[in-house]
């Protein structure tokens, strides 16, 4: 009963309600600007909130978080430039919809699905946080490794007519991810430049994957579209934005599945909404037998899956944050810092010592999603108009935003240079029909795959056969392995032929 009291504060305290609402609003619009990300917004906000009380500070942060994760989908749909890594998969089907003049509808669907995912994630956080945390904690390095391998297999579904080009692109991402100092042994890998120079220092730290994303998606998209700035933009229909009940119910089973997937992937420390959304997209592609529109050309299922998953991952990421004091992603890492500054102790004692804040956060996440449902429908007409702006005005603006976005990650000019380099690389890739999304997938997954493989092997004494034995004797690992083998077999040529043969008969 007490808990309900604390949760209701999110709704009843007008000041907190205001902070939350403003947070969601700002989050949506910051997230929607290509180059600006929710992580950046949260890290800017944190220094403001030092002097505030605990709850208003939390309200604003949660608001920004919820709004920002959703907001990333807007620029993905309208401009083919994901506002955040978690929206990479959204662009795959969202942008084709916008090109058909259906941007308004696509945005409407993402709002509803984001809210749905957000609610499911929050419910799991409220009901089962300690239990989920336990499962997440038992997730061994070998399991992370297998999960990452599974992630890498998604290359096949990231929209390309030529799988070989997708693999090339993913390999590029993996290579870029290798650059820098090996955190386990301290060895330098692919680090160029004279020792002590700022270029060398930058490479030591590794290339920030958000920089790569802004370059490959933002900058390169602007460059490619500038090749022919006279193309008449598509007129957008924005009369039927809110999706009907029928539409929501139709995709409900898929949204629930991908939301659960998103929550769990979000709850694993070290994986967040970006991986969750990509895996959900893949799941949708496999489980949807006959989409009305093929995936990659504007399938609603693709939008539904990744948008519900990345917002569900918010609730998931809060589970290790609140119960273990370990961040589930970059934003929760910043929130943990803020909580300590405010005298809270996120971790195993949080539910006991500061149950008021714990339950307030859950309440705020529910209310924040209600705000998202309302505010998410604002400005759609305005945003859809953006697409209708002549390209020779819009694209230079996007280039400026990409520069600003890259600079603001670490206030480092070096990030801008790298972003421009990746922009040009992305331009060339697009010119020669190499998909850029697999490169992002590679760079996101490389640490997960490599470090955990090494951990897994070291744990069993450095023997590969022992690792195999270890995988076969643990149920979770065995399950993941089975899924991987299944994915491989089902996409192999022989199996496909068999299936087609069976159908013909």
């Amino acid at each position: 009963m007490e808990h309900l009291d604390y949760m209701l504060r999110a709704l009843l305290d007008p000041q907190l309600l205001l902070f939350l609402g403003v947070g969601v609003f700002l989050g949506i619009y910051i997230g929607a600007v290509p180059g600006l990300s929710v992580t950046m917004a949260a890290s800017l906000l944190i220094s403001f909130t030092y002097s505030w009380d605990v709850l208003p500070a939390m309200a604003a942060m949660i608001g920004i978080y919820i709004g920002g994760v959703y907001g990333g989908s807007r620029s993905a749909i309208l401009l083919n430039i994901p506002g955040a890594p978690a929206a990479v998969a959204t662009a795959l089907d969202g942008y084709p919809l916008a090109q058909k003049g259906l941007a308004g509808q696509a945005i409407g669907i993402t709002v509803v699905q984001s809210v749905l995912g957000g609610f499911i994630g929050t419910v799991i956080l409220a009901l089962g946080a300690p239990q989920v945390a336990k499962v997440a904690m038992a997730f061994a390095p070998r399991d992370y490794f297998l999960l990452a391998v599974m992630g890498l297999l998604l290359v096949g579904s990231l929209g390309s007519e030529s799988p070989a080009r997708g693999v090339m692109s993913a390999a590029l991402g993996v290579f870029v991810g290798f650059i820098g100092l090996d955190s386990q042994t301290g060895h330098l890998r692919f680090v160029a430049g004279p020792s002590g120079s700022s270029f060398h220092t930058y490479m030591m730290l590794g290339v920030n994957y958000v920089v790569v994303m802004i370059g490959l998606f933002g900058m390169s998209e602007a460059l490619i579209q500038l090749r022919d700035p006279t193309v008449q933009p598509v007129k957008q229909k924005v009369d039927k934005i809110v999706p009907g009940w029928k539409n929501i119910l139709k995709y409900l089973p898929l949204s629930i599945r991908t939301s659960l997937l998103g929550t769990f992937v979000g709850a694993l420390p070290g994986t967040g909404g970006d991986i969750a959304a990509l895996m959900a997209y893949d799941h949708a592609k496999w489980s949807t037998k006959n989409p009305e529109t093929p995936f990659g050309q504007g399938a609603i299922e693709g939008l539904v899956a990744c948008e519900s998953a990345n917002n569900a991952a918010i609730g998931g990421a809060c589970i290790p944050m609140l119960t273990l004091g370990i961040p589930g992603d970059a934003v929760t890492a910043i929130m943990i810092g803020a909580m300590y500054i405010h005298g809270l102790n996120p971790g195993p004692l949080m539910m006991k010592e500061s149950s008021d804040v714990f339950w307030y956060i859950i309440g705020a996440m529910f209310v924040g999603n209600v705000f998202l449902l309302i505010l998410g429908f604002t400005g759609i007409k305005l945003f859809a108009k953006i697409v209708e702006i002549p390209k020779y005005i819009l694209m230079p603006i996007i280039i400026i935003l990409s520069v600003v976005g890259a600079f603001s990650i670490n206030n480092s000019l070096m990030d801008v240079y790298w972003m421009i380099a990746f922009g040009i690389l992305g331009y060339l890739m697009k010119l020669y029909h190499f998909p850029v999304a697999p490169a992002i997938l590679g760079i996101i997954l490389v640490d997960l795959i490599e470090l955990n493989f090494r951990r897994a092997v070291m744990t069993v004494g450095g023997s590969f056969t022992a690792l195999l034995g270890d995988i076969l004797t643990h149920p979770m690992s065995l399950l993941l392995l089975a899924v991987i083998v299944g994915m491989l077999l089902s996409s192999a040529g022989i199996f496909k032929k068999l299936r087609c043969g069976a159908k013909k008969r």
Partner: protein, 345 residues
């Protein structure tokens, strides 16, 4: 016509880009600081470790108190990686004008012998060393090992099976593992995780058998009963952890290393104007008395240190000498401290 338009667009594009770049770079160059007006703009703070860890949290807390006193903002950026070398290299590459602070931990003091970097705190002037803590040996509450001796005996008996979670080369857990290797004679299997918090989850989730971390990372799980602390790398019982035995009780050989523990401090690059150093030292000494800050470090299992000037320099020297030689003698470091002129303790 179409062609003209394209050329025009390209021109606009280039101009805009150039403008954006020069606009950005003008913030990169800094005018030399006038000591009487210091600080006249925002101060940048580089944190040696990632968000949410002890170094990050304590740095932001003392920074929050200091910026009130300075009347200017401290803009924090986490520059984690390479056992601290990423942040030291970064700050060392900036100008010594007092607008680039380094919020760091003990790690750079072993960077030279470990070969992770060519610079350590010799290249920096300490403003304050604000707190210290101890290292603690932890196991999960479900662990079969009830005492430190039981754990060590198990490692000696089956060295291929008892796994230790660490934070990678040069991190505190591996330094402590070297001490145990020297004193007890174990040759532990180590598995590096991303940070001390991840080491804690690894032992609680059953993915490693034990870990040695700073007390701050273990404190809340100890309080909640999820882990047991088998031994503390301290000479005397630590306040709040009176029932945890010192490692010296079972292994008297540790007396030559103790007292030893991680510390956290604020630094500027060598060559910073003395007036600026004095001003910062005065401000941070006052910030270290801030009640909120003291409460925060206590909750993270840390104890106030409050050293500056000569005292801080002597403390840094002693730590480097003890730890560098320890790592070299145990074989963890390949390069002799003598090569860098580090005297034997």
């Amino acid at each position: 016509m179409k062609h003209l338009k394209r050329v025009f667009t390209a021109c606009v594009c280039v101009c805009v880009l150039a403008a954006a770049l020069t606009g950005c770079s003008s913030t990169g160059t800094t005018p030399s600081a006038k000591e009487d007006s210091y600080p006249s703009k925002d101060i940048q703070g580089s944190i040696m470790w990632s968000a949410g860890g002890v170094c990050d949290i304590t740095a932001r807390s003392i920074g929050a108190a200091a910026q009130e006193l300075l009347g200017t903002d401290i803009v924090f950026t986490n520059r984690a990686g390479s056992g601290g070398a990423v942040s030291t290299t970064y700050v060392n590459a900036q100008s010594a004008d007092g607008y680039e602070l380094l919020f760091g931990a003990e790690n750079p003091q072993i960077a030279k012998v470990m070969g992770t970097a060519e610079i350590d705190y010799d290249d920096f002037t300490p403003i304050i060393l604000y707190c210290t803590t101890y290292a603690a040996v932890s196991v999960s509450k479900d662990s079969p090992y009830q005492t430190l001796e039981e754990l060590m005996d198990a490692i000696l008996a089956k060295p291929q099976e008892v796994v230790m979670a660490t934070t990678g080369a040069g991190g505190l857990p591996e330094v402590c593992a070297s001490m145990f290797a020297d004193v007890v004679g174990i040759d532990p299997i180590i598995v590096p995780f991303d940070g001390e918090n991840e080491c804690m989850t690894a032992i609680m989730g059953g993915n490693a058998d034990y870990t040695i971390t700073s007390l701050g990372s273990a404190s809340s799980f100890y309080a909640s009963g999820d882990i047991r602390i088998l031994g503390m790398l301290a000479q005397d019982p630590v306040a709040g952890y009176e029932d945890v035995p010192s490692v010296q009780d079972a292994y008297p050989g540790f007396s030559k290393y103790l007292p030893w523990g991680p510390f956290y401090g604020v630094f500027v690059k060598n060559g910073t104007d003395q007036a600026v150093v004095d001003k910062l030292t005065e401000v941070f000494a006052q910030a270290a008395e801030d009640p909120d800050f003291l409460e925060l470090i206590a909750s993270k299992g840390c104890f106030p240190l409050g050293l500056s000037g000569e005292e801080a320099a002597a403390y840094l020297q002693k730590y480097r000498s003890v730890t560098s030689w320890l790592l070299f003698d145990s074989g963890a470091a390949q390069v002799s401290p003598e090569e860098f002129g580090i005297a034997k303790p």
